[in-house]
């Protein structure tokens, strides 16, 4: 398969996934119980005419397919409509929340890669020894720890007892260092589970490389350990890189609980409230945005890996064709 064809195929897969996802989410929200118009006015004495006007404004009485095709038509022209709950454009509504979540996930991803890959390499190189066992047990604990409980414990110890980190919130909007400072503890909470996953993947990939012939040969030639580790890591990088989509999905998924514990106004909390409110335009946009990011990241990584080692994605059929051609 040519590189261009591979890229086109990967991007097409992404597009199909997003279209299917948008349809499934729209359908689920359509059949979910509740009426956004009634939720807006709350438990009050309201006339059916008033409710009807609100429903009309958001086309809530239209048949399912009419609603969905209208949404698709608008989305193609980058018109995502108004939030039913807030009454103004979805992009403006979501932007401040998205900024917070991206900063949180970005910080956590950075920490996860540093810790996860670093400890994974050490664990593989010290296989069977005490260091390996400690890292292994730690990663099991990290994987098993419920993020909200861990968040509360960290909050109690580092914010309340020692007063090192801020207790809640995101600090002064627009002041990036202050915002990042507020996000460190939540990011560490997120990192614990995800880095445990990365440790496992890195360790598993590195074990093959540690005992490979080229590594033994490099050691025999007294090549510095740093260079050997770098070579091993480079060769073991494919599974680590391809897991980025999974890692990102885990991070975005875990933000819901973390944002609640640390009172962070991110996408997770917004998505939860929007789902229960049936704020379809907001849910659709967030789901597509996050889905798009995860899909594109995975595709980008796959393409990157393919460029480094095209044989990875070669199927037996492709091999036969290649041989036949030669």
């Amino acid at each position: 398969m040519s590189k261009t064809r591979f890229i086109a195929k990967r991007l097409l897969e992404c597009l199909v996934s997003l279209v299917v996802m948008s349809f499934v989410i729209f359908s689920l929200l359509y059949i979910a119980p509740g009426d956004p118009a009634r939720s807006l006015v709350g438990a009050k004495k309201v006339t059916p005419e008033l409710l009807s006007k609100i429903r009309e404004q958001y086309h809530l009485d239209d048949p399912f397919l009419t609603q969905y095709t209208r949404w698709v038509h608008d989305a193609v022209s980058l018109e995502f409509g108004n939030s039913i709950k807030a009454g103004y454009p979805v992009i403006d509504y979501i932007a401040p929340h998205a900024a917070v979540t991206f900063q949180l996930v970005g910080l956590s991803l950075l920490l996860s890669i540093i810790i996860g890959v670093g400890l994974g390499v050490v664990s593989a190189r010290r296989k069977g020894r005490l260091t390996d066992r400690i890292i292994d047990i730690s990663s099991i604990i990290g994987t098993c720890s419920p993020s909200f409980a861990l968040g509360l414990v960290l909050l109690y110890v580092f914010s309340y007892q020692f007063g090192i980190f801020p207790m809640y919130g995101i600090g002064e909007p627009g002041n990036l260092p202050d915002v990042l400072w507020h996000l460190i503890l939540p990011a560490i909470t997120l990192t614990v589970g995800v880095s445990a996953l990365l440790i496992k993947i890195t360790r598993s990939a590195m074990l093959k490389e540690v005992s490979s012939d080229y590594a033994v040969f490099m050691r025999a030639r007294a090549i510095p350990t740093g260079k050997i580790v770098f070579s091993q890591l480079k060769n073991a990088s494919a599974p680590v890189l391809t897991s980025t989509g999974l890692v990102l999905a885990s991070l975005f998924g875990a933000t819901v609980l973390i944002e609640n514990v640390f009172s962070i106004p991110g996408l997770g909390v917004l998505l939860t409230t929007s789902v229960t409110f049936r704020d379809v335009p907001v849910v659709q946009f967030i789901a597509l945005m996050l889905g798009g990011i995860i899909c594109l990241t995975s595709a980008f990584v796959d393409i990157l890996v393919y460029f480094f080692n095209p044989t990875i994605h070669r199927t037996p059929n492709n091999d036969k064709k290649a041989k036949g051609a030669s």
Partner: protein, 531 residues
């Protein structure tokens, strides 16, 4: 071995370096320009809710009301006494509760310094009455009302029918938040972080971070003078544990609506004070008369007798809320009666005290066979789930098997009075202090769906009509009579009148916190710093 250690050390060093850089830059900015905390300590209030929009007209959440209360004025406002006071209207009069004439204040200015004109007020009324622009408050305005600019300082509002409680509609506790017409017409999203509120109240919005916090600053253009508390910051902390820790840490001065179960934790904080207050909310059961066998009065009475309200309060609410004898709380009558007098009158109305023998007798009188039903409760209020289980246990004794199910609050709202649930919970906290606010909904028997019980008895209508036509004082007996008719027929089964708690630390003093405090014209003046 050494090299591996070196690798590990480098990894740790990189992490430490990143953290150190961020912390140093954060520390370096703590006194940066724009950080007003360094200049003047704000009053920090933590609320257990989160809002993404400041305007109450869209969603109508309690927190949005508390904010707009001090930013945008209505024609009238509420004082700390719970009574109506002048705001943008200096005085007013009405003809038969139908034609309302308001004499407007001439010295009112918006926080940007521009004067409040009659055109701004008419624009704001029309905006509030438009379901598309203000879905949450449009119901305050009857279909067909008109506004008339008599002169620059006289406004006339004509209603299609008499409505003595209309005065609440044009207060900022109800459905009017006056803003500047020219500004509002050019704003993209009023109340968002992009277009902060613009009003003529004692405070202006200095900064709003959706879902996180809002900072309010004293306005020097308010006709009532510049408020003493210069800055108020409202932090949205949904998680109860986090809010408690923030309070213990001293990050929060005042914690609003703390869970009853955490009162002890707040009291244990050095110097902290916890105060409970009647929050005017009503919690009870509604029977839908279109669902059999709840069309049978004896069945409803049997259920009402079988509810051990005090037992429920003691077991699941630590004894805090008050057992309700009517569907309106005594404190809701503040404009016409003291709470004690109101309580006495409400206790004298027909209600059904817990009595299993009478419950069995009523069930036998109904002639109904033992049956099964379901009580649904909203997921937003777990206490209602626990109370449902207690009620189910009692009803089993008289032959009614009850299944208890949790449903999303949105579904609960949607199905309220829809004719699908024989018994349903009602949990209502009136935004205004209109004594008839709940009654005009519960007693409106003019058609299907006009009240949550689908009750259609016309005998109550004359009393409700009198409530509309007479003043609150004059119509009080009619209001009580209407409530009594509903309760005599066991349409509604009151269980408790809500009680909530607030906590504040030693850095502030609070003057007698009541359910009216956050509804009053300049509520921050009830708070003062001790140090």
């Amino acid at each position: 071995m050494k090299r591996q250690r070196k690798l590990l050390t480098r990894t740790v060093a990189v992490i430490v370096l990143i953290l150190a850089l961020i912390s140093l830059s954060a520390c370096g900015n703590s006194n940066a320009p724009g950080n007003d905390a360094a200049k003047e300590k704000p009053l920090v209030i933590a609320v257990p809710d989160s809002i993404n929009l400041l305007e109450a007209g869209q969603e109508g959440s309690v927190i949005q009301y508390y904010i707009q209360q001090i930013v945008n004025e209505g024609l009238v406002a509420i004082g700390e006494d719970g009574k109506i006071h002048p705001a943008l209207a200096e005085s007013w009069e009405d003809e038969n509760s139908t034609v309302w004439t308001f004499n407007l204040r001439k010295d009112a200015k918006f926080s940007d310094g521009s004067p409040v004109t009659i055109d701004d007020i008419i624009y704001s009324i029309e905006r509030s009455a438009d379901p598309e622009q203000s879905p949450s408050i449009a119901y305050f305005y009857p279909e067909g009302f008109t506004t008339e600019k008599v002169d620059e300082s006289t406004l006339k509002i004509t209603l299609p029918h008499a409505q003595s409680n209309f005065i609440w509609s044009i207060s900022n506790n109800g459905g009017l938040f006056v803003t500047k017409k020219e500004w509002a017409e050019n704003a993209e999203a009023i109340g968002s972080a992009k277009d902060l509120l613009l009003g003529s109240g004692p405070y202006k919005v200095a900064e709003f971070s959706p879902g996180s916090h809002v900072t309010l600053e004293a306005s020097d253009t308010w006709w009532g003078g510049t408020p003493e508390v210069k800055q108020v910051r409202i932090d949205f902390i949904s998680d109860n544990q986090t809010r408690l820790l923030a309070f213990k840490q001293g990050d929060v001065d005042f914690a609003f609506d703390i869970p009853i179960s955490q009162i002890g934790d707040y009291q244990s904080v050095n110097g902290a004070k916890v105060q409970t207050y009647k929050d005017r909310s009503y919690v009870g059961l509604t029977f839908d008369l279109t669902v059999k066998p709840f069309d049978n009065e004896h069945v409803r009475k049997a259920v009402a007798y079988a509810i051990d309200s005090q037992g429920i309060i003691d077991s699941i609410k630590d004894g805090y809320p008050e057992k309700a004898t009517a569907f309106t709380a005594p404190e809701q009558f503040a404009t016409v009666l003291s709470a004690d007098d109101a309580r006495e009158k409400l206790n004298a109305l027909t209600h059904y005290e817990y009595n299993m023998e009478k419950a069995k007798e009523e069930f036998a009188l109904s002639g109904a066979a033992p049956f099964s039903t379901t009580i649904y409760y909203p997921d937003s209020n777990q206490d209602l789930g626990k109370a449902s289980l207690v009620i189910a246990d009692s009803l089993k004794e008289i032959g009614i098997t009850v299944d208890v199910q949790e449903i999303p609050v949105e579904q609960w709202l949607n199905e309220m009075g829809s004719g699908t649930k024989g018994i349903d919970w009602m949990d209502y906290r009136p935004p205004t202090l209109d004594p008839a606010e709940i009654a005009i909904w519960f007693l409106d028997t003019t058609g299907q769906g006009t009240n949550p019980a689908n009750w259609t008895d016309p005998s109550v209508q004359p009393y409700l009509q009198a409530v509309y036509e007479k003043s609150a004082e004059e119509g009080l007996d009619d209001l009580l009579k209407g409530i009594d008719i509903a309760q005599e027929q066991a349409i509604y089964a009151p269980i408790w009148w809500g009680e909530a708690a607030v906590a504040y630390n030693s850095s502030i003093e609070v003057d007698n916190f009541t359910s009216y405090t956050f509804l009053s014209q300049n509520w921050p003046k009830n708070f003062s710093f001790t140090k």
